[in-house]
């Protein structure tokens, strides 16, 4: 308001000066033309004075206007300069702020990039040991630590077990087990409370742990619990014991961020490991079950086949043996009635021997197709063999011209055996031996008995043609034979009989040199009825 009044007064003054000047100038100009009466005191000097006054007034007006104009401009310029300065300050402030923000973002970006790198590395594998190794390597390389140890929480033992270390000797690592009962320990406290800490001063107690011994500087060790939402995973210890870099809250923050990811990775790896083990175990069990099933199936097929064969054999035996018996008896009668020189004698003998052979085939099939039923009696095995030798001495030994050697162990006690079946088995093996020594340069049968621990071992060796290695396993299989006349059931039946006695039968053979059958019978027999 005041300013306006002052401005108006100033304006009025200028206008007054202009009007006065115009009036005076008009008077001087127009006084002679319009004969304006001139006062008496109006002299030339007065007129000059008026003229000078007009000039002064005009100059005054001009000066005032000019001055006003200049002043106005100066003020304007001054204002503008102030504005510019203000703007400059503001810009400076903003630029500083921007710089700060940029730095902060850059730090954050660095942290996130590092974290991402580490997470990426961790996620490359699910193998626990490898995951732990990558974690430690990543921490030390990206977050600039010199050493690191990961402890895994052992719930059963209630302690933290060092699992893996970076730049830590294995022998040293093994000594680092941290019991959770040691409540004084800063490390244990940190784990229990789930708070990451920079360990400022190590207590004497902590110093006793070998790993910490060489940490002399304060603020060079960080302890970070590794926990997920619902599980205590373990603990991470990192230090800068070599570079002696003082650790700050920033270090603590970045490693804490990282700890969450580490815990999850460890959890995942542990889960994966458990699952892998479980899968492996399951696979093993499945494999085993499949194998058992296959075996059972095989056995079932075998036993079904055997049962069918057994039934068939029983019927066949009965139906064949009756007519066989009639033929046999008829032949016997004929054989008795006709004289030696009769031509028919030869053919009757053929009938008798072939009937006997036929009967043997039937008997073999029947014996093979049913489980051996054994009737145990106390038997002197040496006497039993001797009986067989006596029989062979008047039959096969003469036929093939064989020398027999016996070596009996008198220490063998009486065995509980099915005398007839063991006799059948041994006779079968001995007769086989004789058969395969036919036309061999040396024809020697060696029978040996021996007491070995709780077993009686019978060895029957020949100097026959021998068995090729590819056949040694097959010889106990049913229907396997290299003889022209034979069902291939003899050794299979022998094996069944020996096994029914809880014994074992094995064969050793060298082609061209001979074969040895080794029969092991337990002295205290446990009859195997399976």
């Amino acid at each position: 308001m005041n300013l306006d009044v002052i401005t108006n007064i100033k304006k009025t003054r200028i206008w007054l000066l202009i009007i006065i000047s115009v009036l005076i100038a008009g008077y001087i100009k127009f006084k002679s033309i319009y004969s304006i009466p001139v006062p008496i005191w109006s002299t030339k000097a007065f007129i000059l004075f008026l003229e000078i006054l007009v000039v002064v007034l005009v100059v005054d007006v001009i000066i005032i206007i000019a001055f006003n104009y200049i002043r106005k401009n100066v003020l304007y310029l001054k204002h503008k300069s102030e504005e510019a300065e203000e703007l400059l300050n503001e810009t400076k402030f903003l630029s500083e702020k921007l710089e700060k923000q940029t730095k902060f973002l850059k730090d954050k970006l660095n942290e996130i990039t590092t974290l991402n790198k580490i997470i990426y590395e961790i996620n490359q594998t699910f193998e626990l040991e490898r995951v732990l190794k990558i974690i430690l390597e990543s921490i030390c390389s990206y977050l600039k630590y010199d050493r690191a140890v990961i402890f895994l929480f052992d719930k059963e033992k209630d302690c933290l077990v060092p699992s893996i270390g970076y730049n830590v000797e294995k022998s040293e690592l093994e000594k680092l087990v941290l019991s959770l009962s040691d409540k004084e320990s800063v490390v244990v406290k940190s784990f229990i409370k789930n708070i990451p800490v920079i360990i400022k001063k190590l207590s004497d107690k902590e110093l006793k742990i070998p790993y910490f011994k060489d940490i002399k500087e304060d603020n060079t060790l960080i302890c970070v619990p590794l926990q997920t939402k619902d599980k205590n995973v373990g603990l991470l210890l990192v230090d800068t014991s070599i570079s002696k870099r003082k650790l700050t809250e920033k270090d603590l923050r970045s490693i804490s961020n990282f700890a969450i990811q580490t815990s999850l990775a460890i959890c995942n790896a542990q889960l994966f490991e458990t699952e892998r083990l479980f899968k492996e175990k399951l696979q093993q069990e499945v494999d085993l079950a499949v194998k058992k099933l296959q075996e059972a199936q095989k056995q079932l097929i075998k036993s079904e086949k055997l049962a069918a064969l057994g039934e068939m054999a029983a019927v066949v035996t009965h139906e064949v043996r009756n007519p066989l018996s009639t033929i046999y008896m008829s032949a016997q009668i004929l054989n008795k009635t006709i004289t030696q020189d009769n031509e028919a004698k030869k053919y009757i003998n053929y009938i008798i021997s072939e009937t006997e052979r036929l009967n043997k085939v039937v008997t073999d099939i029947l014996s093979f197709s049913r489980k051996p039923q054994i009737v145990l009696t106390k038997t002197n095995i040496n006497n039993l063999i001797e009986e067989l030798v006596s029989f062979l001495e008047i039959s096969d030994f003469i036929k093939y011209d064989i020398k027999c050697f016996r070596n009996y162990d008198d220490q063998i006690p009486e065995l509980l055996l099915d005398k007839d079946q063991i006799k059948q088995t041994l006779l079968n093996i001995m007769q086989n031996a004789c058969h395969f020594m036919e036309n061999r340069p040396i024809r020697k049968l060696v029978i040996e008995t021996k007491k070995e621990n709780s077993n009686c071992v019978i060895k029957i060796s020949d100097t026959g043609i021998g068995i090729p290695p590819e056949n040694t396993k097959k010889i106990f299989e049913p229907f396997f034979t290299t003889k022209t006349k034979g069902t291939g059931l003899g050794l299979s039946i022998s094996k069944n009989i020996i096994e029914a006695h809880g014994g074992k039968i094995a064969v050793e053979s060298v082609v061209g040199e001979g074969t040895t059958f080794i029969i092991t019978l337990p002295i205290k027999i446990e009859v195997n009825f399976q």
């Binding site: 018996s325 009639t326 046999y328 008829s330 016997q332």
Partner: protein, 118 residues
């Protein structure tokens, strides 16, 4: 002459046995268990030879029936099954002996002789 009853469904075999042993013993042969039982109601032989498998009854069932009214007459079983040897353990109390087919005539004669004599 001692009497032997043979129950055997194979007629030819029965015939051969009759021919072979007929000179030494009085042989009576039947092919059915029923016929044998009827005969035994009237006559008492010195030895009975039973086939294990008969068309109308098993030899062992027949054995039990005979034992009910003739507890002491010696009975010999005749079988085409090897497994009878095992069963014999169970039946041995009731049975004098057994013979396995195909029959060796000499063996049969020896066994009969052993049980009832000439």
């Amino acid at each position: 002459m001692k009497k032997i009853l043979i129950v055997e469904d194979e007629e030819l075999m029965l015939d051969i046995i009759k021919d072979t042993l007929g000179k030494k013993y009085e042989i009576k042969g039947f092919t059915l268990g029923k016929q044998a039982l009827e005969y035994l109601q009237k006559e008492q032989p010195d030895l009975v030879i039973l086939d294990i498998k008969l068309p109308d009854i098993t030899g062992l069932e027949l054995l039990e029936k005979i034992r009910k009214f003739l507890p002491k007459v010696p009975i010999m079983m005749c079988t085409a099954y090897d497994s009878f040897k095992t069963d014999y353990q169970i039946w041995s109390a009731n049975v004098a002996d057994y013979i396995v087919k195909p029959i060796v005539l000499e063996e049969l004669e020896t066994k009969i002789k052993k049980i009832i004599g000439e």
